[in-house]
C-alpha cells in the first residue's frame, strides 16, 4: 500500500510538469501580452503612452525573451523559492494574492462536497429502494431542476429570497461591517449565515447528479444474490440494504472528491462572480482577461495540483472501501 502511494505521488510530478507547461502555453496563446492590453486601456482613456517607458517595462518583465526562457524563469522561481512571479495588474507578488483565495476556495469546496454527500446519500437510497414511489418522483423532479437550471440563475433567485425575506446582506462571505474586522464569534456566525447560499447553489447540480448515479447503481445492486443472502440470514431490512448494496454503490461518492474541485473552479466561476465570492474563479477570470500571465498560470498550476491530490485521495479512499480494487 505504501509503495502504491509513493508510486502515485511520483507519477504526479511529470503530470504536474506537463500541466504547468500546457497552462503557460495556453496563456501565451492569445496575441499580445499584459503590456499591449495595458496600452490599449490607457489609450482608450486618452492617456499618452511613452514608447521609452514601454521598452523599459518590456525589459523588466522579460516579454522579449523566447517562450521557453520565460517559462523556465517562472518554474525555477516556484521550485527554488516558492516565488510564483509578479502580478502586473495588482502590482503584488502572485503568492500573496493566491493563498487567501485558494483557502476560501478549499473551504467552500469541502463544505459543498459535504453538503452534496449529506443530501444525496439518503435521497439516493430512498429513491432506489422505493423506486417509482411518489417520493421518488418528487426527488427526481427536483433533481432534474437542479441539473437543468444554470447555477447563476439559482444564485440570483436565492439572493433575492435571502435579501427580501430574511433581510440578509447578500454577496460575498461576510457582511460589510465584518469585512475588515478580526475573527470573532460574531464574525464566524456572520460567515456561516453567508455560507449557505453558495454551498446550496454550488452543490445543487452535483447533488442532483449524484442522486441519479446512486439511484441507478443501487437499483442494479439491490437484486444481486448477495442481498438475498443477507436477507435470508435474518437481518433486518434496513441493515440488509445499508450494509451490503449501499456499501458497494458508494464508489461514485468517493470519486466525487476528484471532480468537485475542478468543477468548483471552472464550472461555477459565473456563480462566484454573481455572488461576489472571494474564490479563485473570479480572480482567475480577470487575470485571463487582462493577460496577467503569472497570476493566471499560477492559479491553473495550483488548481491542477489540488485536483491531482483530490484524485489521489479519492483513489486511496476507494481502495480502502473496496477490497477488489485494493487487491488488483
Amino acid at each position: 500500500m505504501l509503495g502504491y502511494i509513493f508510486k502515485r505521488v511520483l507519477y504526479m510530478i511529470p503530470t504536474l510538469f506537463g500541466m504547468s507547461l500546457i497552462s503557460f502555453l495556453i496563456i501565451q496563446l492569445p496575441p499580445g501580452d499584459y503590456l499591449t492590453s495595458m496600452i490599449a486601456t490607457m489609450s482608450d482613456s486618452g492617456q499618452a503612452v511613452d514608447p521609452a517607458q514601454i521598452e523599459r517595462l518590456k525589459e523588466i518583465y522579460g516579454f522579449d525573451d523566447p517562450f521557453y526562457i520565460q517559462y523556465l524563469k517562472w518554474i525555477w522561481g516556484i521550485v527554488s523559492r516558492g516565488d510564483f512571479g509578479h502580478s502586473f495588474e495588482w502590482n503584488q507578488p502572485v503568492s500573496g494574492l493566491i493563498w487567501g483565495r485558494m483557502g476560501s476556495t478549499l473551504v467552500i469546496s469541502l463544505l459543498s462536497l459535504l453538503f452534496v454527500w449529506i443530501v444525496a446519500l439518503p435521497i439516493g437510497i430512498y429513491s432506489a429502494v422505493r423506486r417509482h414511489s411518489i417520493g421518488d418522483h418528487v426527488f427526481t423532479f427536483f433533481g432534474f431542476i437542479g441539473l437543468a437550471v444554470p447555477n447563476f440563475i439559482l444564485a440570483l433567485v436565492l439572493m433575492y429570497f435571502a435579501y427580501r425575506y430574511l433581510g440578509q446582506s447578500v454577496g460575498g462571505l461576510n457582511s460589510p461591517e465584518y469585512a475588515e474586522a478580526p475573527w470573532s464569534l460574531a464574525k464566524v456566525g456572520d460567515f456561516l449565515a453567508h455560507l449557505w447560499i453558495p454551498i446550496i447553489i454550488i452543490g445543487a447540480s452535483g447533488t442532483a447528479a449524484l442522486i441519479r448515479v446512486l439511484r441507478a447503481n443501487l437499483t442494479d445492486e439491490l437484486h444481486k444474490p448477495y442481498v438475498i443472502t443477507a436477507r435470508a440470514k435474518g437481518l433486518p431490512e434496513y441493515k440488509v440494504i445499508l450494509k451490503y448494496p449501499v456499501r458497494i454503490a458508494l464508489n461514485p461518492f468517493v470519486s466525487a472528491i476528484g471532480w468537485v474541485l475542478p468543477h468548483l473552479v471552472s464550472g461555477v466561476t459565473i456563480t462566484a462572480i454573481v455572488l461576489n465570492l472571494p474564490t479563485a474563479g473570479p480572480l482567475l477570470f480577470r487575470a485571463l482577461v487582462s493577460q496577467d500571465m503569472y497570476l493566471a498560470g499560477s492559479f491553473i498550476l495550483l488548481l491542477s495540483a489540488l485536483t491531482l491530490v483530490g484524485m489521489l485521495l479519492s483513489d486511496l479512499l476507494l481502495a480502502l472501501l473496496d477490497p477488489r480494487i485494493r487487491f488488483n
Binding site: 437484486h223 448477495y226 443472502t229 436477507r231 440470514k233 458497494i248
Partner: protein, 568 residues
Amino acid sequence: MTDPAEDVVLSVENLSIDFRLRTHILHAVENVSFELKRGQTLCLVGESGSGKSVTARSLLQIVDRPGSIVGGRILLRTGGEFTDIARLDPDGQAMRAIRGRRIGLIFQEPMSSLSPVHTIGSQIIEAVRLHSDLDKRAARAKTVELLRQVEIPNPDQMADRYTFEFSGGMRQRAMIAMALAGNPDILIADEPTTALDVTTQGEILDLIKRLQVERGMAMLLITHDMGIVAEVADDVAVMRFGRIVERGPVDAIYHDAQHPYTRQLLASTVKLTRHVEGRVPAVAASSQPLQPILSVRNLGKTFGWHGKTNSLRAVDDANFDLYPGENLGIVGESGSGKTTLGRLILRTVEPTTGSVIYRDKIGGEVEVTSLTKKELRGFHREVRLVFQDPFASLNPRMTVKDVIGDPLIVNGLAKGKALEERVAELMRLVGLDPMGMERYPHAFSGGQRQRIGIARALALDPRIIIADEATSALDVSIRSQILDLLLDIKKRLNLSFIFISHDISVVRYFCDRVAVMHRGKIVELGEAEQICTAPQEAYTKSLISAVPNPDPRDKRMLHRHRFVAPVS
C-alpha cells in the same frame, strides 16, 4: 385439515404465488403441496421457468416484488405447534427469526451470492451473532469451527479472506457454512452446484449430504439435473409451469413414472448417457485411409511473459487430427484451456507455438498460423463458431434475417431477394419457420435462438463448425433436440465438428472421439465410448466417475474416484 405426521418439519399446502405484472397476472406457482421430513431430502426438479426457485424463496418470504403469496399455507413445526409462514409479515420480527435460524438457504451463483467487499468471516460471524448472544470472540471461534466443518483448509486464516480470493467450490463451502450458522433444521439448496465443475459438484453434494445426516436436517434441493436427483433424493417432486405434476419416492419416479412429462424428462436425460444409436464413426466407415481436414500440432498458448513464474500455459502442446465428417469432443473443467484451444484454431487468440494445418476443398494444405489477415477471412468462411449463450450472442437490435444473413452480406455473397431465399432455406434447415424472419431475437426461446445461431454459422457453407458449449445454457429436453439437429445437419452437409463442452454426457452422445483436457494439456484422446466407459488416465477416471448417474439404484458418485493433482 389434519396436522401433518410426526416427522414432518415443514408442510406446504396448496401454495400459490402470483406476479402482478403491468399487463397481466402471472401465476408463477399454483396449488403446490409438499412436505419436508426430518433427515430426508426432497428434490424439486423442473426446467427453467417452472417456478421451483420462487417456491423455495417463498418459504423464507423473500420473493421479489411484484411476486406475492396469494393462497395456501406453509406450516413450520415449532415444538408441538405449527406456524403458518404465509401469514407472517415479511418484514416482521417473527419472519426474521425463522430466516437463517430455522431455515437456511444456499443458492446457485457462488460468485455473486456473497458480498465482495466483506470478508468471508465477517459475513458468517454476522449470521452467527444474529441468532445467538455470543460475543465477537466466541462468534469468531464458532465461525472458524463452521469453516472447518465444511472442509475449508486453514479456516482461521481463510476467515479473513475476501470472496474473490476463493475458488467457486470454496465459495460454495463458505456459503454452506453461513447457511448453517444459525443451526437451522431445514436447509434449502437452490441449484447449489449448477455453476460448479463436475468434480467439485461431487464434493459439494457429498458435503451437503454428510452435514444433513449429521445434523438431521430436512433438505429441499432444487435442481434441473435428473442425475443429481438420483444421487441424493429420498423423495422427488416434478414441477412444470408452476404446478407439481408428479410426486413420490425417488425409486418410483425413476422406475415407474406416471406422468408423461416426468417420463420425457427422464428419457432426454437417459438418452444423453450413451452414444447416439445406429451410427458408425466416420473414420471407421471409410475403406481407404482418410486425410485429416484439420491437424493441430504442438499448439500452445502462454499468457504473461514467457518463462516468468506468473505466466500461465493456457494450452500446452496440443496435438490432434480432425477427420472429415467426424465429431471431435473436447472436454474439461473450467480453466482447463478448452475454450482457448478453440480460439487458437480460429486464431481469434494468437497461438504462442505450434501449427494448425487445414486441408481445403481442393486438397491443398493451409498453414493457419501464418495466414495474413485477409487470408484468415477466407479460412473463417469455412470454419465457423457457434457460441454458448443464445441470449448474448445475438444482437437484439437485428432481425433474425439480419442476423442469419449478416455473414452473407459481409462477404458480399448475396443480397435482396437472393439473400431472403437463402435465409429462408437456412431457417428451414435448422427447423425454424421462415415466417419469423422479420422478428427480433427476443421473440424466440433459448432453444430457438440457439437454432438461429446455428443457421448463422451455416450461412457460408462451412466445412468445420467449432461449437463452444453450444448446449450448456439449454434445458435438458431442448439440449437433446439441438444435438439431434446438429447430427442431422452434419449428415446432410458433410460437416466436421469440434465440440467443446464441460458436459461429459453431451460429448458422449454427440462425439465420435473425445480429447480430455486438464490444466492446458490433452491428457487422454480416444473413442468416445472408450473414454466414457473405460478411461485410462487417473484424471479422466475421476472426471467420469463424478458425473451423476440418473438411476437411484446405481449411485455412482458415492464410490467415485478422487483425483489428487500432482504438485507441479
